[in-house]
Every structure is written in C-alpha cells, then in structure tokens.
C-alpha cells in the first residue's frame, strides 16, 4: 500500500465509500436478475478503488464526468442511495427524475456532470469544465473518467491537445479494466496508452487501480498541481470489472476465463486489500468494519425498498425539460 493519509477518518471514509459502491452494485444486479429493473446496467464492482481514490482527493466544487459504468463515480462523488435507486428504476424521485436511468445517472449538485452512454462522449465536457474554471478564474479541477476502450475515440486526442496548449486543470483518468465489451484491450489499443498522452506533452502516470491509497496519493498531488495551473495530467489506472460488460453478459468464457476472474477477485480485490491494511495498521477492528458493512447493507436495502415503492413521473413530464425555461415543449 502506498503512503499514509494523515488521519484515520479519511481512511475509514474511503473504505466506507468502496463498500457502498460494491453494495449498491450487488443490489442493482439483484434488481436486474429479479426483473425489477428496466433495461440493462453496467456494474462497477472490482473498480471501487479508482473512483474512491480519485473522488476523495476532490472537493465538492470540483467536477467529474462519468461513463456508462457510472454508479461508482456517482457514489464516490457523494450521491445518496435513495435517489440513485429511484433513478435506476425510472422513478420521479431519481436524480434525473427517471429520465436518465443508469447510463445518465448523476448527483449534479455534487459536481457530477453525468454518466454518458457515448463512449468517450464526456471527454470534451470535462475539458470544458476545466476551461470554465480557467475563464472565470476559479481553481476548480475537472476529472474525466473513461475506459481503455474510449482511448480509441479521436475526441480524446483533440481535447488533450487543447488542454495541453491551454494548460487546463483537467485530469484524464483512464480506467483500464482490460476489456472493452467483449474484446481485450491489447486487441484494440496499439502502442502505449500513456505514451499517447505524453506525445501531447501531458505528464502521464500508470497506477495500480486496486490500491486506493496509491490512487488517492497520486490524485491528491495532481489535483494540487492542476489548481496551480500545472495541468493537464493523465492517469492510467489498472483495474478489473468483476461482472460481465453489463448485467446481461453472463456467459463470458468465450472472451475471458473464469480463472482470470477468480485471480483478480481473490488476490487483488481493492476492498479486501484495504480492509487488511486498516486492520493490520490498527485503524479499525474487524468488528468495526463488519458493523459498517452491515449498516451500509441495511441502508441499501431500505433505499431499494423505497425506490420500488416510489412513483413514476406523471406522464405530463414527458415533454418537460426538453428546453430550459419552457415547461412543456409540445404545448
């Protein structure tokens, strides 16, 4: 594990947030399997240290952009279970009043500019948030989450070029989980991902995405430097998704083996690793952490129940929010 943070409260919050993400996803998956959730969704389980390590280095006013695999980022940036489950189920009390669903989920009030169902689609948005920060002389930072697969989108190179030319306070966070859908990263990415950022003059780091402290330490440093105008930066975070590409991707041995999955789960799980660290460093006891887990599970269960019972938006909402400042678009 990488260098320590100064107080155990921060550590416990990171642990807590990782467990919250895992618990959220387990419940979401269950909703899918029991046919209670409309559509499909993409699980973040296994990648918790990335979202949490990064978001714990940010302030609320800092912005993030998220992906189709966005529940983890949303929780990590401060969202509540209740509004998240409501959104997943298309209910009125969801963060997006049920209009966005899993692929557009976001707690906007905490600086989350949204999950995005276009792979790579948010790279410009994050860069633009950083542009605003510079234009309006704020020192907010923007973090752009995206997958290894998204590095194939030309948009990334366009915005990295501008961010580098204009020294924008943006951090590109590539979550390399080894796959884009059903294809291994090496089959779709030539050369080196970090070298691509470096070729634009952007400082790039590769980091173990299963080590929440390593991720957090690096991010904390880069965020501080970005605030001073030393950005942009690029991080490649090596991680793994435990589930299929989406909840419906059950039989996946044709593209990756059960052994590989087992190896990551058994030997590199970010929560197990961090828990071991907390206990061995004497920052928490197993009982403390079990209690925390149980509390989170109860929270999730209550939120799921609430969301299942919550009401759908009224049909009259269908043409609201097409345009800002206009109640109904088709009046």
């Amino acid at each position: 594990m990488a260098k320590k943070k100064t107080n155990s409260e921060d550590y416990l919050r990171m642990y807590r947030q990782m467990v919250r993400i895992r618990t959220f996803e387990d419940n979401a998956n269950q909703l899918y399997l029991s046919a209670k959730m409309p559509g499909l969704t993409h699980m973040y389980s296994g990648e918790e240290a990335v979202a949490v390590g990064i978001c714990e280095a940010l302030e609320t006013r800092d912005k993030i952009t998220s992906t189709h695999r966005g529940h983890g980022h949303c929780v990590a940036k401060g969202a509540e279970f209740k509004e998240m489950f409501c959104e997943l189920l298309g209910k009125e009390e969801g963060y997006c009043r049920g209009k966005g669903g899993s692929m557009h989920i976001a707690d906007q009030s905490n600086g989350n500019l949204g999950a995005n169902a276009i792979v790579g689609g948010s790279m410009g948005i994050a860069t633009g948030a950083a542009f605003t920060s510079k234009l309006l002389r704020k020192d907010d930072v923007a973090v752009c989450f995206f997958g290894d697969g998204a590095t194939a989108q030309g948009l990334m190179y366009e915005v990295m070029n501008m961010a580098a030319l204009w020294k924008l306070p943006v951090i590109y966070a590539c979550e390399n989980n080894g796959y884009s859908e059903y294809t291994k990263t090496e089959e779709i990415a030539a050369g080196s991902i970090t070298a691509r950022a470096e070729a634009f003059g952007i400082e790039a780091h590769q980091v173990d995405g299963q080590d929440v402290l390593a991720v957090n330490a690096l991010t904390t440093d880069l965020v501080a430097r970005a605030r001073k105008g030393e950005g942009p930066f690029f991080m490649e975070l090596m991680t793994y998704r435990y589930h299929g590409h989406h909840v419906g991707d059950i039989n996946r041995e044709y593209y990756r083996s059960k052994e590989e999955e087992k190896d990551w789960k058994d030997n590199r799980d970010p929560i197990i690793r961090f828990r071991g660290y907390l206990v061995s460093e004497g920052l928490a006891t197993d009982e403390d952490l079990d209690a925390l887990n149980a509390e989170i599970e109860a929270d999730a269960e209550a939120a799921v129940k609430y969301a299942l019972d919550a009401k759908y938006p009224d049909v009259s909402e269908v043409d609201m929010h097409v345009f800002a400042d206009i109640k109904h678009a088709l009046a």
């Binding site: 009043r97 209009k99 792979v119 998204a150 194939a152 990415a189 269908v318 088709l330």
Partner: protein
C-alpha cells in the same frame, strides 16, 4: 414456408453475399467472436475468418472512413454501427465523403458500401441509445436508405444493398430481431424503390416504415372490426421512395396517415405527407396526417418512454377522425 427471425435473415443475407463475392467484408465493434451485442452476426467469423469479419476499436468515425476508402478501391464493406444513435459520430464520413464522392468525381469513383445500423425506442435504453435517425440520412443526396419491416425485407433488402454500387444505410429495428416471418429458402432480392402493399383497403391509407408497418397493420385490424377498410403500405426504402405506389393509394382512399418512429418534426413523415399533398391534393378528402415519435429526447422511465412512440390504438384513433371528417384542426 419456413419462418426465421429478422436476426437470422440478416445473418443469412450477409453469409450468402460473402460467399458469392470475396470483396465483401464486415467491419465494426464486437462483430467477430461476440457476433454483436444483438448476436446478429454469430457464426460469420467462424466461416469467413477475422480477415473478413473485422473487430474494431471503438472508433466509429475511423472505421467508417476506412470503409469509404475500402469501397473506393474495390472492396464492398458492410459497416456495423452498434446503435443508430452513433450515426452522429460518423456523419462527416457518411455525408461529406461517402455520399458525395461519386458526384464530386464526375462519376469516376464510387462507394459501394452498406451501413447496417438500428433504430427504435422502448428498450429502456434512454436518450442516447433509442433514436431513429433515418430522416437525417435521407436528407443527404447520394445515400440510399432502407427500412426493413420484417425478416423477409431484412434479407432481401440487405442483399440488394450489398450489390448496389452506392452507399446504402439500413436501419433495423432493435426490437424486431427476434420476430419471425416466412422467408424463402431460395435466393431472392428486393429491389429498392418498390413499396409493398401489406394489406389492401379502400377507406384510408396507412403508410408505415420499419416496425410502424406492424403498428399500422394492427391499427387496420382494429379499424376492420369497426367496418373501416384500411390499406397498409410499406415503402421499404425511403430513398428511393416509391412515390407512384403511395400516390395511387392516396388517390384511391383519399385519406392518408403516415407513421414513422423518428421524431415527428422535420422528419420522414413530413416528406411523405408533403409529396402526397403536392401530387394528390385534389383527391384528398382530409389533410394527410403524420405520426412520428414525440419531439422529446427518449426518456428512460418506462412510464414516459412508452408514450413517445405511435401505437396501433393511436393510429386507429386518428384514422377514425379522418374517416368521420372530424379534422377540426385543419379547419
């Protein structure tokens, strides 16, 4: 006659054409081993190899551009665009390059390629995975646009598309992949620009595209029970458009509704309605009515999504108004 699914029909069409012509290849994301997320292409890579069923990185503009160049030099690419919504990413290569090359070169170069993609809402996939964007493509001279309404059309139009020397865009309805229809074992092609009269009638003409053909057929059943005889026509290709068939029907029934799943405003229904108004005006007893998707981004929530698209009941209701002469709006 045997019945096969729309998905199998597309698969057969591709396999037959790839056997016939070694310059035909398929390119897109997860088209090979995965056979696309909708499993439409399963088995093709086993027969034709990865040299002709080519998995790409997530680079829609890139592989679309590559296909244009391949088509200009002797290949016949079939581009697989996973969701119709991604067509926004490839518009430049499709509309500025593929569509215009033959014309700009004074007929010297041609671009025989097929872009296979999909359309259709009500899968709970939200605003970026549910659009029906064929109207945009139809507006650009140099592109042909096919919209199969069943497995039969899906096969026959695909084979014609592959042999056409122009860029052809085929929009398949995502919700119809598992729908079965009778499809002959023997080889057949469906010529472009020939509408199909799905059901003959005398009181009103219902023109539908893609899955809206089924919606119109169901509406016709409802109406039949009430003693109203509806003719249902499927144009099959909207570019070229079989104007003669549509006009003949309009002249016969003197009442027309055009139903399409794209957004209504500035969409396909406007063009078809306008042509009928222009060229059969004095035969019409009532204005040509249009029914498209609501002019709203497709919402995720099932409570909202279902009311965005035309339904058989909705079509029947409008038809009744027309037949009864109750189009007060038009007064």
């Amino acid at each position: 006659m045997r019945e096969i699914t729309l998905s199998q029909a597309v698969n057969e069409a591709l396999a037959e054409e790839m056997r016939r012509d070694e310059t035909v290849f398929i390119i897109g994301e997860d088209v090979a081993e995965a056979g696309t997320p909708f499993k439409v292409l399963s088995g093709l890579v086993e027969e034709f190899g990865t040299g002709r069923v080519v998995d790409t990185p997530i680079s829609e503009p890139g592989f679309m551009g590559l296909a244009v160049g391949a088509a200009m030099t002797g290949s016949r690419p079939v581009v697989d665009l996973m969701f119709g919504d991604f067509i926004f990413l490839i518009m430049d290569q499709l509309c500025n390059q593929a569509a215009k090359t033959h014309y700009m070169s004074g007929g010297k170069l041609s671009v025989p390629l097929v872009l296979r993609t999909n359309m259709g809402a009500t899968r709970r996939s939200a605003a970026q995975h549910s659009q029906s964007l064929h109207a945009l493509v139809a507006h650009i001279p140099g592109l042909k646009v096919a919209m199969p309404s069943s497995a039969y059309e899906a096969k026959g139009l695909m084979k014609t598309a592959i042999r056409d020397n122009n860029p052809v865009v085929i929009f398949e309805d995502k919700l119809m992949y598992q729908d079965k229809a009778p499809v002959p074992e023997e080889e057949f092609l469906i010529p472009f620009g020939e509408a199909n009269i799905k059901r003959a009638g005398t009181d009103i003409t219902l023109i539908g595209t893609s899955s809206m053909v089924q919606v119109c057929e169901k509406a016709a059943e409802i109406l039949a029970a009430e003693g109203v005889s509806a003719e249902v026509i499927d144009p099959r290709t909207i570019v070229p458009l079989d104007e003669a068939a549509l006009l003949a029907s309009a002249r016969k029934t003197s009442r027309v509704i055009v139903v399409d799943e794209g957004h209504q405003s500035f969409g396909v229904t406007a063009e078809i309605a306008s042509r009928i108004n222009e060229k059969a005006f004095y035969h019409l007893d009532a204005p040509v009515l249009r029914m498209g998707a609501l002019d709203v981004p497709i919402p995720f929530s099932p409570a909202l999504e279902d009311i965005t698209v035309p339904t058989p009941e909705g079509v029947a209701e409008k038809a009744r108004l027309l037949v009864r002469g109750e189009m007060i709006d038009a007064a």
